[in-house]
């Protein structure tokens, strides 16, 4: 039993599952996305957490004991898949791993064909995530929801080619990009299935560029829509739920729902076309569950605990007012160096203000 958790009517797993089915629950689920931040709970280092399944698993379990969030999200970093395709990474001691942008695996448009199929179950980093899911499932799979995580194929390719060069190639070398995205998608389909087989109740896919601040909607659809569908269909066929995460501004909800048909979308900003959260809740509340929308930096690095409680209360009340499907969360990963007490405050806010009878 968690140091902070109390005897609840439902387990976290039940609470999340029923919410996604739009059935009555005891309170709004709370899932501050404590991923890398968990490295601090057992006193390890970020680079060790990023590269060792056992250390990461134990850290996530310990963090959940302390904070009480209703789900694990297996977001290690956005370079997991890219590394297994050949991209060299840099692992800072106390920060998130990132590609060595001075040593991109694909350096010219002619090199997209270097992308080859790999078996995610036999790689270094994707296998690590699969093993983490297995570990979490063994310890808490009956109590706490486990959400796998996959970076979308276009995002994976951007880590390997470099963001700027990939964006230019979308216009100047589209066929080469599409061929690479196709190969990556085959691998991500297998990766998704492996996560479900390891015990993930849902798999969250991150099509980061499906956002009005990055790509035209039709451009995104061309380069990622059908590929996202392949991954989403595979997740459902394997028996798990499909979630989407995108912390970009103005996510194309219509297009993402068209291609992925997710049960929930985790976001940091209102959907494209919605001026504010109220409009978002009214427009999308009956179509898809919104997972959001605490600003991660403010929640982890700026707000006092009382401000977090107030902020969460406002969100819960807003979505409730419009009968909009909602799970309280940070709009993106909880800051790895953020105040973990504020993550716990989010869960407390759900208990105080998110009760069904409120």
């Amino acid at each position: 039993m968690s140091l902070i958790q109390r005897n609840e009517e439902l387990t976290s797993l039940e609470r999340v599952g029923l919410t996604l089915q739009r059935k009555e629950v005891d309170r709004t689920p709370a899932i501050p996305l404590v991923c890398g931040a968990s490295y601090r709970v057992l006193g390890t280092r970020y680079d060790k957490w990023s590269q060792d399944a056992e250390i990461a698993t134990q850290s996530l379990l310990a963090a959940q004991e302390l904070i009480g969030q209703d789900a694990f999200l297996l977001l290690v970093d956005l370079s997991v898949e890219a590394a297994d395709f050949g991209q060299k990474l840099i692992f800072p001691k106390y920060s998130t791993a990132f590609p060595d942008f001075n040593n991109q695996y694909i350096q010219t448009p002619n090199e997209y064909e270097k992308i080859k199929k790999v078996n995610p179950r036999e790689t270094k980093r994707m296998k690590q995530v699969i093993d983490m899911i297995k570990g979490l499932s063994k310890e808490k799979g009956n109590e706490v929801a486990i959400m796998g995580f996959i970076y979308g194929p276009l995002g994976v390719l951007s880590q390997i080619r470099g963001h700027k060069d990939l964006f230019v190639d979308l216009i100047k070398h589209p066929e080469e990009v599409l061929a690479a995205v196709d190969v990556i998608t085959d691998v991500l389909v297998e990766y998704a299935i492996a996560q479900v087989e390891a015990g993930a109740h849902a798999v969250v896919v991150d099509p980061l560029y499906s956002s009005g601040t990055i790509l035209r909607n039709t451009t995104w659809e061309k380069f990622e829509g059908p590929y996202l569908k392949r991954i989403a269909d595979a997740i459902r066929t394997a028996g798990a739920g499909v979630g989407i995460h995108n912390c970009g501004d103005g996510v194309y909800f219509e297009e993402v729902i068209k291609w992925a048909d997710p049960v929930a979308i985790s976001v940091a900003y209102p959907a494209h076309g919605s001026k504010n959260w109220e409009e978002h809740a009214k427009t999308w509340g009956d179509k898809v569950i919104t997972i959001g929308c605490s600003d991660p930096a403010n929640t982890g690095l700026v707000f006092t605990t009382d401000e977090v409680l107030e902020d969460c209360k406002n969100q819960i009340e807003l979505f409730k007012k419009h009968n909009a499907g909602f799970i309280l969360s940070t709009g993106c990963e909880f800051p790895p160096n953020g105040n973990l007490l504020n993550a716990a405050a989010m869960v407390e806010a759900s208990r105080r203000y998110g009760r069904t009878e409120n």
Binding site: P92, F98, H163, V168, G212, I214, T219, D295, P335
Partner: protein
Amino acid sequence: MSINKEELYKKLADSIVDMDEDLTIEISKQVIAEGLDAYDAIVNGLTVGMNQAGKLFDEEEYFVPELLICSDAMYAGLNILKPHIKVGENVTKRKAVIGVIEGDTHDIGKNLVKIMLETGGYDIIDLGRDVLPSTFVEKAKEEKAEFIVISTLMTTTMEGMNEVIEILVEENIRDDYKVLIGGGPISQGYADKIGADGYAENAAEAVKLANRLVVAYGNEIE
């Protein structure tokens, strides 16, 4: 037949908006060959074109890929024209050092801000990415910049922005620089917390913010 320079500058601007780098280069070379004023061509051709591209970006007609290709065309033209600017002609511009903070290598946002600030009339010294806090200060002093513009996309590296301000305070030169911050996880709340002079939500806002700060400090925009 004499060249109609207004027409030529319009073609130059259009080549930027049309993302036609080859045409930008061709026309820029023509400007030089015809003996036209290089600075004039930059201001009335390249900058006008880039401003139009920026407007299309604001209106969600152009997106990041289009803007990047437009800026490639602009820089290609600048490379040809800049060496031919007459001495003394270059109007003194307000200087800014810009970079992505130490530990972070995401630079698309920073590059878009750089493009917008340059188009908006600022002289930009680009420090690149993964820049030490002390380097921001050293370069600002060395280049006699007015602005220090810092970007990050990661919460784990945000503290570096605070370090830049702490260094300025320690050296008793805080008031000599306006510090602007931006990036995905950044907010006005964070900017207020660390004492930054401003936070810009996007590249277009960065230019407006810089201009507002100049006015607020009692100087007119030239």
